[in-house]
Point group: C2
Chain length 460, copies 2
Amino acid sequence: MVNDEMKDGVTRLFHGRAVAVVGASTSPGKLGHDILANIINGGYEGAVYPVNPRAGEVLGLPAYPSVSDCPSTLDLAVVVVPAPFVPGVLREAAAKGAGAAIVISGGFREAGREDLEAEILAVRRETGLRLIGPNCQGINYRPNKLCASWPLVTAAGSMAVISQSGTVAATLAGWAVDEGLGISATVSLGNQVDVCETDLIEYFAGDKDTKVIALYLEGAKNGRQFLEAARRAVSGTPIVALKSGRTKAGQRAAASHTSSLAGSDQVFDAACRQVGIVRVADIEALYDSAKALQSLELDGGERVMMITSSGGCGILATDEAESCKLRVPPLPPEAIEDLGEAGLLPTAILSNPLDLTVAPAEHFEAAVTVAERHKLADTYLLIFGDPIPGATEVVQKLKARMGARFAVAYLGGGDVEKEERLLMHAAGIPVFPTPQRAIRAIRDAAWAARFRARATNTSV
Amino acid sequence: MVNDEMKDGVTRLFHGRAVAVVGASTSPGKLGHDILANIINGGYEGAVYPVNPRAGEVLGLPAYPSVSDCPSTLDLAVVVVPAPFVPGVLREAAAKGAGAAIVISGGFREAGREDLEAEILAVRRETGLRLIGPNCQGINYRPNKLCASWPLVTAAGSMAVISQSGTVAATLAGWAVDEGLGISATVSLGNQVDVCETDLIEYFAGDKDTKVIALYLEGAKNGRQFLEAARRAVSGTPIVALKSGRTKAGQRAAASHTSSLAGSDQVFDAACRQVGIVRVADIEALYDSAKALQSLELDGGERVMMITSSGGCGILATDEAESCKLRVPPLPPEAIEDLGEAGLLPTAILSNPLDLTVAPAEHFEAAVTVAERHKLADTYLLIFGDPIPGATEVVQKLKARMGARFAVAYLGGGDVEKEERLLMHAAGIPVFPTPQRAIRAIRDAAWAARFRARATNTSV
């Protein structure tokens, strides 16, 4: 089952074609059941071998009493047995040809069993088997249709989530599914006895299905390596990072959770800025900025033009843009004159923000066309603050003509908004639930673009 | 149609039993059509008279050529005709007995027609007719089942939204509907030629169906009156305020939108703190804090205990709590001992945050029970970071026993989460989409409780 491309363990982790689920269970609600169900229902097309010494079959598949009994060589083992059994299972998996294992089971370092964790690390060294976990929520990798994790997420997108918290990964994936964006991957890191954020950044930087990496960290396993990998990655694949342990109390909590040594938050912050990682402060910002970075293609300019059907939302966006140190350039008289002849409503307020008042989608197009002629902005925030059908069609047309420089805030639009959001995401246009969240995501995307441009110039 | 209780115009605005829709239209998509449709479909049980000189009937109701032709006296007129016709319509409505009118039409001060605005103000003075608007999105008041606005929202709840932006009001109402909370009212202020935020705060402070007021402002019409009304209101009905124009650019935009004179933002901020208004910085915080304030009954104490099935989310909550200057007290040895005997998982981390690891709902109950015995906290944040069925039942039981001191963050839980969120909101338990948003809402609710307690003590 192993070809040349898959000789590396991390690659086999993601692209494996033969998977054993060790600790497969017939009881719904148990992880050994639910993970197997998610692998099957997630569309995985490789061979799946449930391993369970007491069941003839699990979820309709023949079960095998041990890893050694599986009917072919393995690429990957997903391990859900109690911690004391894990080292033996890993040795068997390696003997059976596996290049990688996902250890879901807890009960290691985080439970005071450093000895067991040392033992599986020894197996890794003896056999070359690459390990994710232990004490983790698994991986979901859509290009291989392998959901060895929970909850079941099948919608394929461009965002790879790497997370020291299974819940943070599941949350981002859930939002991405609800909003029609999907994910390329979620990886829950757990205790990182072997594979760590650095390996994964390297992997996803080279993954053609991934356009952005969203990272939740409590502490980097090896800070220097992590930063070097990130620096190399961001020239092609932007990274957004949420790191907890910002405060003393948070650092104490992080130390108990994954025994992470958090280090100084200011140092981490400065390091992110230096290597080009976008650092954010909360889970929603992690999602928003990753969304912006996977869709927008900016040149780093800081001028934003805001075009809105809601005056109030235009003001809120303006406040936020000024707080974010983006530029909201006023309109020159020639542009105001042209806007006056663009067929907008007589109630429209011709400024930046440009308040179209209760207008149809076409007025947004007319306004952007004038703005384009006068080169007024680097990025456009279009705020649809009413049920405005046909919004997607208009933004799609503008994007085709002017490039991916359009972020959308769509709010107050009821069912029309929900439909348009899905359509826009299908068209690669990022939609945000409030003007403020849109502006903060634009700021981050513009910063990343500026960083990339500077880095490219420097290396020339 | 007028009884004693309704002699006051503002009361008749909300409780009117005979409404004329002036400018009713047979064309879907026109405001005169959609608002009439929303009044009908919103369940309004009073008399509705479409006024349209060119239609025999509109939406199945007999239409009348003019306001004077309506078959009974009026309480309320909803006006959607072009601005120049509005003064005449208002005079007719007053002559027909109306106590109030909602002027949806734009084309007044905001369009340079100060003269027309002065004229309707003159009508208000001559006739006593109370006016909402002009240039507004109407009102929706669920106790009277009257949705003279858009979009159509029928879910009845306890949050009254007063807003200088129709979109901000529609956005909050939309979220409240999606989350199963509902609203008591939305009022779009428009140009506030007559009825302003002060009148409405006074009204909703006395409204038994309203538990919290969410306010979006660009500038107060009369700062002193507004603050006095707010001061009186907050002893019974908390107020959360989002005011735009925080920055210079935002203030310029606000001046164009509703000709609001914003004044100094720091002065407004200090005034809010002084009279007990919770001021927030974005639309989501307006919603979150209003949600917390309508559900939580806190005594103002600053100690938060966080109980979580997700270690990562516990840390993020801890960081946020420390940033918000809430207290996250460590657990005393006796409490740790009791928790050790409470039947939690061996993987649980017995600290604050208390990380139950992948635990069933009952473990949250066991943990809170120990915390209660040791009087560890004033407010509890329960973080369900997995699909945890039965969560509502457990929190409901705790709330019945210990009072409304429980905020919930539910995330990463897929469909189970969506169901449980609706159930919790039906039970009056506030649910937030991230631990950070929950903590910020708790901070605001605790501050408001502290303010109320101090104000009560001072007045004794």
